[in-house]
Symmetry: C3
Subunit: 117 residues, 3 copies
Amino acid sequence: MTHITRIDSNERLSRVVIHGDTIYIAGITASVKGDIVAQTRDVLQKIDGYLATAGSDKRHLLSVQIWLKDITADFAGMNSVWAEWAPKDALPTRATGEVHLASPDLLVEIIVTAAKI
Amino acid sequence: MTHITRIDSNERLSRVVIHGDTIYIAGITASVKGDIVAQTRDVLQKIDGYLATAGSDKRHLLSVQIWLKDITADFAGMNSVWAEWAPKDALPTRATGEVHLASPDLLVEIIVTAAKI
Amino acid sequence: MTHITRIDSNERLSRVVIHGDTIYIAGITASVKGDIVAQTRDVLQKIDGYLATAGSDKRHLLSVQIWLKDITADFAGMNSVWAEWAPKDALPTRATGEVHLASPDLLVEIIVTAAKI
């Protein structure tokens, strides 16, 4: 029988879904208003938290999509925060594209797939 | 040996691919022309059908991406239909972004990953 | 214990991550500058190479996202190259949307999930 664990659900979505050895995390945006550095930091800190609730951590990322509102303006800033955060010897696959988000204040949204430890 | 089941293939893609306990569904768009409510209803009804052909249902969604042509205009309308359709106690992860689609009439495309029952 | 294999990592990402029976490939863009046909050919040739390093091939694709800088101009050109490349009897799910990429020269980025053989 398939076992699915759903964590931190609101009225639209679950923030974390665990299926077998795979952890899916919803597209995460910042709660802080601020520039790309502040928002990316907030998003990655939230992702650390969601990974922890799923019993995993950033050394077990599999695949990441990064959506930026303005890739020309914000690619470098996002990457600078990513470089501080992402473990150099355990990097996921990644794809980054320009995608407008649900609110005009939002500059970045990150979607993670990770592995259970 | 890896077993992959491919369902409802056309000349470019399969609508459903099953691998192990995971079901991948292609990006689904509406066949009806109409507003976001009509198109989202049509897309979700098609997804119900594809899940059924894979032996699953909407209570086993894992992760969803929703692409909207105009997120400012259509986020609320899509969400109203989503709220009617998605099971409150079995919600997937979700990410919604503004992405223009292959035809200018298309307002929404939904990409689903689900679990076998 | 979860086993994750990471292949061809640079300072930001791994080109290939293998977890269980699933292979994730990073969003791949062209190294050649050129039109959509030239860029799509280059991307798919690179993907053939990444699949080979993971011990798989294009007959084991599960799910693909295709991001085009200009879907109106380039959907047909991308599809013509895709049709030559993708095995008609083993097609993955696919979703194609308009997404601007990290450099203005880039016309297409393709993100693949595949299965181990």
